[in-house]
Symmetry: C2
Subunit: 207 residues, 2 copies
Amino acid sequence: MHAEETLEYRKPDRKPATREPYTLDRLLDVAVRVFTERGYDGTSFQHLSQASGLSKSSIYHHIESKEQLLRLGLERALEPLMATIGEAEARGGPAIDRLRFLIRRNVEILTDRLPYVTLLLNVHGNTAPERWALEQRRAYNRAVAAVVQEAVDEGSLRADVDAKTTARLVFGMINSVREWYRPERSPGAERLADQVLSLLLDGIRTR
Amino acid sequence: MHAEETLEYRKPDRKPATREPYTLDRLLDVAVRVFTERGYDGTSFQHLSQASGLSKSSIYHHIESKEQLLRLGLERALEPLMATIGEAEARGGPAIDRLRFLIRRNVEILTDRLPYVTLLLNVHGNTAPERWALEQRRAYNRAVAAVVQEAVDEGSLRADVDAKTTARLVFGMINSVREWYRPERSPGAERLADQVLSLLLDGIRTR
DNA sequence: GTCTATATTACGATAGAC
DNA sequence: GTCTATCGTAATATAGAC
């Protein structure tokens, strides 16, 4: 007779967990938060297990692989971001106005989906989903650079710095917001977008 | 009898290597390049072996651990960066001039030590050297934010956006240069610094 | 839906020959 | 200074009980 059998680990009585069962969406939230904190490659299933409270193997009930978790997270960032390109085109009007729209929407999406966009902006291209995301980002960058070029051509933006460099620096500033923005402590998306737009358009100097 | 044994892999004939022996400095250059491409956690000794042409174990002749490579790489970025804080203080004069100096030097160091600074700006804090580097960066950010605050107080910079946000956005734009700058194709450090300073101070809009 | 147990592979690091 | 061979561990992923 073995101790395991006699004790039976109080199995029938045991409440399996006090929390509600995980859905893919809830698990994704947890995983992407850890990905943004530790980086995708720096995150193991053990980290995901600790953060979620699930065992390593239970995570596989919701997903097929770690890469799938990454891909789902990247999609959450890219979907609204890529959509703004079409929305800006549909607006028509002066390029400078469409650029303002793109900048404002970018700040809004960044603050609204902070961990997902942070994940997107930190990928290296080591896996297939990462390479796909980088290609999407390149398409986004090309589209916004084209609008910047239009705004230069229509005389709204300075022509002494080439449009490509301006576009890179402008969206580089915006994207850097991910490194310090905290929803609970930082200004809201609208106010932050106002500040970013104002500094970008008119400069930081007094006049 | 096994094929492996009969062929013997031409071992006696083989020239062990045609290249000159590695020094720690040359190995560090290779390693940091791979770190910036794949991320530190995404880089294995197999990757380092392929990139260097050394066997995995030969790398250990030059270093004691992977973390040591990381630490040495981070030091190469932090050393000149932290030095600029003291240099700016020593200059004295109006805060706006010291800020221009800090921005210009930051762009120069970024382009001059691109892979090292890129490595620094991408660390997550998963290891001891990373946490040390993050603390150094916080000290750097505090110092430049203080100069921005001085420039606001002296009336050189706009006061309608708080100094901390301005500092973060300014250096966020500068640091984003790492994501696209290529020494062989991009403008030189001086010209790029001129463009960055001009856009930051006066804005992207025509006037 | 979650668990324990395990398979398999890749990782960082070491030993010792040349 | 570089190599081959190997160690111990931790990684992703699977099997099967409950």
